[in-house]
């Protein structure tokens, strides 16, 4: 299992608080990795470091390129991680462009290609064939992902007017339109009803199997984690406390203690 991403002794401090404390982990290529842990364990902070929103206090994040070279992401500026390293994320509290339609949301995700084709808006203003082709291709890519995620009917609806579960899917579709190499999902199952949750599981496995994507997701819904992930990393207090296939992690005493609290120990002691 070759890694796509290596996190090496990552530290993230905010003043006196150490949110991530020497975390090391590897995200295997072409697999689904889940990050679980109690609230405040540092999961979202890790995402923010990976996607360039935070600059880590120490440690490295290495992206393994296809040609075998390594790239240190801690030196890249926020927007260039999505653009060049193609690590794209979704957010725990959905961040769609609410006033814009679903299709427009998906086109903003393809801004790079479109802006290049529009050549500082000049080719776009002149409506050159090159720009028109780029726009057609962008709409075509958006159309494919909309169809795949069952969102075609909502394409021309303002994203903010959609129900919560649909908005979650739109956010994933938008991230997919940015052609990610690593897709990071922050609690994709939060607020979903059981049926939507089942659809999400099917979607995640399809993205891995049919599209060869590498996925990294934070989740509290254990049925999703246990069903779809190939690899699970458990965090607590900014550290990794366990790692491995879901079955092994589920039985890990350290993990059980982190989730159920210290009472088990006390009960055992008594």
């Amino acid at each position: 299992m070759t890694p796509l991403l290596t996190v090496d002794h990552l530290v993230m401090r905010f003043g006196g608080i150490t949110a991530i404390d020497g975390l090391s982990l590897q995200v295997p290529h072409g697999a689904i990795t889940a990050i679980i842990g109690p609230n405040g364990a540092g999961k979202t902070t890790l995402f923010n470091c990976l996607t360039g929103f935070y600059r880590p206090s120490a440690g490295r994040i290495l992206l393994h390129e296809d040609d075998g070279s390594e790239r240190d992401l801690t030196r890249l500026k926020g927007h260039r991680i999505a653009r060049e390293a193609r690590i794209v994320r979704t957010f725990q509290n959905i961040r769609l462009f609410g006033g814009m339609t679903v299709l427009e949301n998906l086109l903003v995700a393809q801004h790079q290609a479109l802006a290049r084709a529009s050549r500082f808006a000049l080719a776009g203003l002149l409506h050159t064939p090159g720009y028109r082709r780029a726009e057609r291709e962008a709409i075509e890519l958006a159309r494919r992902w909309l169809a795949e995620l069952g969102l075609t009917a909502f394409a021309d609806t303002p994203a903010g007017a959609l129900p919560y579960g649909t908005q979650r899917r739109v956010e994933i579709a938008r991230a997919l339109c940015a052609r990610p190499r690593l897709l990071c999902l922050d609690e994709p199952a939060a607020g979903l009803n059981p049926r939507e949750s089942a659809e999400l599981k099917a979607l995640l496995t399809a993205l891995r199997d049919a599209h060869g994507l590498t996925l990294l997701f934070i989740e509290h819904d254990m049925s999703v984690v246990m069903n779809v992930s190939d690899h699970v990393v458990v965090m607590n207090f900014g550290r990794k406390i366990a790692e491995g296939p879901p079955e092994a992690v589920r039985r890990d005493p350290e993990v059980i203690r982190a989730y159920l609290g210290e009472e088990d120990e006390e009960a055992a002691d008594a």
């Binding site: 339609t101 394409a155 021309d156 609806t157």
Partner: protein, 428 residues
Amino acid sequence: MTAAALPAPSPLALRLRDALVITVLGGLLALPFIGLVTVEEGGALAVRTRWGAWAMTLVAIFLGRLAFRAALDAWRSRKPSHKSAAFSSTDAVLRRAAGTSLLAVALLLPIFFADNRYVIDTATTLGIYVMLGWGLNVVVGLAGLLDLGYVAFYAVGAYTYALLSTQFGWSFWAALPVAGALAALFGILLGYPVLRLRGDYLAIVTLGFGEIIRIVLLNWTSFSGGPNGIGNIPRPSFFGLPFARSAEGRTFHEFFGLEFSPMHRFIFLYYLIVALALLTHALVSRLRVLPTGRAWEALREDEIACKALGLNTTTVKLSAFATGAMLAGFAGVFFAARQGFISPESFTFSESATILAIVVLGGMGSQLGVVLAAAVLVVLPEVGRQFADYRMLVFGAAMVTIMAVKPTGLLARREPTVRLNPSRSSAP
């Protein structure tokens, strides 16, 4: 019967009760204002009662309130369907029709008012404000960056033309692009330090920037003439033909074999601002459907999501500031050329506030809304000239009314920049 009526009073009963309450209140107010009148009786002032007029007022208030209430309820019950999730296309058709007819009116106006300088002048002023509104719409309406110092770029454009023409003899057409570029540069200059600011903080800094420009122009006497301003700014010519009774070369009326009339120049200026405004409109509405414009709107909606999708928010913000500033610069050149005289007096904060009011009243991001709002804000004070003392009062009341009835602006509905199913949506 009371038991049945209590839980759900009929709308009519509610309206009657409401009208009654308002009538009582209005009656109390009207008592001293209308019911009593002072008359002069042999040198002394006496108070007389006017019960008839007072009673008429009460009836008018009662009926007026009933009608107002009914209209308001009708409006409210209409709203849900109006706010439906999907963008309706009939709306777009209506807008297009409104836009086309407005354009036709704008183009034909000088034919009907060829000898009415007042109408042409007011329409030209309206044109300037429409252009400024469209320019500011890029910054505030599309990119969501609150700019309270927009008039600074207008001033940059005006002073650029004034100085280039009076000092170096540049023509209007040569100065136009230079002034636009310079204003855009100032836009970037302002944009750079405020990249990290949003909302209120951004508004305060832009407000300060506007004041800095004005105060510099006011005090740097050797450069800008200070409070005396710059006069004798050359008027634009018709492709080299001046609008004058006589000149060294051929004049406009000689070339076309017309009787000389000072109106020619005013009509030409009017058409010039219409052309500039249309150019602005074409540019902005085209930019809106390009990646640049979509990035502006995305920035307004969610800056963090923009970053997560690889958009360089610095470039997006600066391009919005620069585009808006450039358009204000163009408008400034026109303003200087039309007035023939400029001074810092013309670029006070109240101008910025008026332009911002046009954008907000029109509905953020709506091009047609800007035209309507500019018409309201420019024509209303003109109409109210007879009641000069109450002008600002009426103006304020109109603003408050619009904001209370339509808080999102006159025309706030956003037209998508692209549709997946254009065939379906174009059907009625």
